[in-house]
Assembly symmetry: C2
Homo-oligomer: 256 residues x 2
């Protein structure tokens, strides 16, 4: 590529989160950065879009970047409005994150960070969602730096298979003990939920969703959860096709 690559950056923790700041600092050295990120935390928004209401996209200067917008919508809205309204040229790559917390396994369907990357893939743009497996606001994002750069440069050079984005999770480890990158599949897991029931000042019940992550295939060694627990930065190629192909035949027999 003779010109500098155009890098669209978004996230789900909001435009002022430390994770996006660190990602921007890496991306500034690799191309021209264009930021469109949510104006407030949008964790757990999945692939939500704003269709019954309107959107704002306000120019800001949080990151001292020429093209930088704070958007009232979801992460997927940010990608859509960036590509279809705010940017003159389509980006060469979309980077989403770095998320404060894991997006391993089943988290991919709840994650705004990953949904932004999936939306990019649907729209034909090489896209990567980054997450650090540390929920702390003051998490240390610097430890995976060389691997992140390697992954971004590889995708800029080689692109990605059509419709595929990457789900990258960085373990909460220092760089000297991170073992490297492992390409793997999404582990089969779920959140075991319980609801914390409370009473409001008027005696009426309300609920907080709480849950515990449960890996359903602890023996498997080809999953993102296993690789993460064993010291690797995990890369799961991810797409929007949710068809359970192996079920088509049996269902055809049962239903027809």
């Amino acid at each position: 590529m003779s010109r500098k690559p155009i890098i669209l950056i978004t996230n789900d923790d909001g435009i002022t989160a430390p994770g996006i700041s660190y990602l921007i600092s890496i991306a500034k050295n690799l191309g021209d950065v264009f930021i469109v990120a949510p104006d407030k935390p949008q964790s757990g928004m999945g692939h939500a879009i704003t269709i019954n209401s309107t959107l704002r996209a306000i120019p800001t200067k949080y990151h001292n970047v020429e093209h930088e917008y704070s958007c009232s919508g979801t992460p997927v809205d940010c990608v859509k409005i960036a590509i279809n309204q705010l940017m003159k040229h389509k980006p060469d790559i979309i980077l989403s994150g770095i998320n404060h917390g894991s997006n391993l396994s089943i988290n991919v369907i709840y994650s705004g960070t990953m949904s932004a990357a999936v939306e990019g893939a649907v729209e034909g743009i090489p896209s990567i969602g980054f997450s650090l497996c540390d929920y702390a606001h003051e998490a240390d994002f610097t430890q995976g730096k060389e691997y992140l750069e390697k992954i971004i440069l590889s995708v800029l050079k080689n692109k990605l298979p059509k419709g595929v984005c990457l789900n990258v999770n960085i373990p909460k480890l220092t760089k000297d003990v991170i073992k490297g990158i492992k390409v793997c599949r999404q582990a089969n897991a779920l959140w075991e939920e319980s609801f914390d029931e409370r009473k409001d000042p008027y005696g009426r019940p309300y609920y907080w969703l709480t849950g515990e992550f449960k890996n359903l295939e602890k023996e498997a060694t080809d999953t993102d959860v296993w690789a993460n627990e064993n010291g690797y930065i995990t890369v799961v190629p991810t797409h929007a096709d949710m068809t359970a192909y192996e079920a088509i035949t049996i269902l055809s027999e049962n239903l027809l």
Copy 2:
């Protein structure tokens, strides 16, 4: 099953929508109905969950059913709070819909209706999302009745493969011309977006998301879009595994 099946019903158009009313009228004849549905329209909410705020679940009597709750959350919240908080016993089946409008193809990732069904599948409960390809509030939901009953009864009898739910779309046709049920895969498609930019009364810009559905594989005859356009009720087995398996090898070569 000696006792009557327990049927959990939700949707994304809200608890007062005609689509859910019709689904309830069918389900009442097949088992004991338990309703937990959003208190307002939640279309396009995808797999969003409420983690930064609280939830309400208020007993109501819109449908004259003993167990009926109007929930302040998303469709996925409704499933989670139903199963983990409100219901004494896990449901035998979850029915979501009937959605006012298509959830064919790529719509599955944006759809609250389908996300509720996917959540059910993740939690190990046979789940079906139903959609009628007619966005009108006064759409005629009755035309697909016999097929819907057939699909629900088949799932109650045969269950579904582990982790798999069904995405059922009913064409906007009268029952005499509906050709039957076809089990198929999710078509590769996208929404080509454009944003309608307007000015508020203070001169500041805001945006409405608008878009046009574009089928990227018009020649293929094994997709849900093709089958729907050709007069079939489509059934796509759907799961939460978004791994693009075919990309693992090539990425391993590029990244490692």
